[in-house]
Symmetry: C2
Subunit: 230 residues, 2 copies
Amino acid sequence: MERKDIEEYFNVALATSLVIFGFDLDKLHILLKFNEEEPFKGAYILPSKYIKPDQSIDLNVKKLLISSIGSDDAYIEQLNASGKVFRNPLGRVLNIGHYGLVRFDPKETEKFKKQGLKWFAYDEIPDLAFDHNTIVDFAKERLKRRVKRRPVGFNLLPKEFTIAQLQSLYEEALNKSFDKRNFRKKIFNSKLLIDLEKSIETSSGKESKLYKFDEDKYAKMSSIGYDFLF
Amino acid sequence: MERKDIEEYFNVALATSLVIFGFDLDKLHILLKFNEEEPFKGAYILPSKYIKPDQSIDLNVKKLLISSIGSDDAYIEQLNASGKVFRNPLGRVLNIGHYGLVRFDPKETEKFKKQGLKWFAYDEIPDLAFDHNTIVDFAKERLKRRVKRRPVGFNLLPKEFTIAQLQSLYEEALNKSFDKRNFRKKIFNSKLLIDLEKSIETSSGKESKLYKFDEDKYAKMSSIGYDFLF
DNA sequence: GCAAAAGTGTTGGGGATACACCCATGG
DNA sequence: CCATGGGTGTATCCCCAACACTTTTGC
């Protein structure tokens, strides 16, 4: 490649953005950030971070996760790079979207607030800066597909959870409802859950049994893929 | 962002690479290019092209397709961006992989040869320059998943084809074999094929019926997705 | 006593799989 | 006459979908 080409081509910046999904045992949420900087100051955006030219995408994502939610304990998957030349006044920025699944901890809401981070209901995402709404839509579609084919609750639910909670997670993500009995059958057939032989009291005052995931089985099914066909 | 940051970050180049699959009615192949330039002169690579900072990814891919196979009539899908900082002596180049499905035309083999392009059998891909083997593997996995869920033959088979040809395409892509009768049942149940009411003579000397895809149905099933579950 | 949520079985149908033989042709 | 590949039907099984009532508890 010629000298002039180098100048012409090596003139792009990279950034990553995260669509972080959290589940509060009732609804799915997405974590958004209030943008304090130009361009698009005052708008909400996805948590994002420029990538240094000598840094890998994954490391950048890890750092971004830690600076956003305080840990990198999340299931992360890369999405497509946004193809359009988005009009960022600074120059071309290629954004590589990711989606992440994290455990929703209501206690952290206050801490998030100080950083300008806020959970928004899955179906009430405001207009975002840049092309971030497109990335969110893409992530939602991806999540739907993943939910159908792989066990997906591990990173969204607390360690111990009830079947009803698991079911409402699926119902939220796929935006439809399931018959309780059929749902239970399917889940139990998969042998994915371990009965913890204890209960918690639920909102109705009645007791409900707790389960956890069989982590080995879960890992196997996640990597191989599985035909849940919800 | 500060002036110095701009210099620091806007220092990356983008490129696209294509994993082009073709099916010669017997085996799947991938189109590779003999690399005439440094770095890695003399190695095979994926057809690749730098992206100008003001050009969209898709347009770049389209141009790359046309310059490689002489047309952009292909099914194309974006893959993940390669995450590692690959040691290209010129600087950081972020490669955005794509895979494409095209009709294999044996007549074009000669024409390809002049451009240094050559079809390699799906399971006999040599060592490639850069991280292109990783991209190939990723593309193969993606193809497998697509084949299971969506009709995929349209861009790989000739306009008119026999059931046996369709079956060997599936067998190749998924690397397993199917019962003839069950395969036919499944395909006919999908109502995806139109009987052309004519035949060709096959290698065994016997006649074989020709079919084409019902394009409307095909388009619908491609976008909605479908549980073929091969 | 009533609202709210937990828990539990059965049935019918459709699609997947397994499996074997006949036919036409070219050599 | 035999090797090659095209074409066809049946029986079984399993998974999915549909569907309703009882129980506990708090109010």
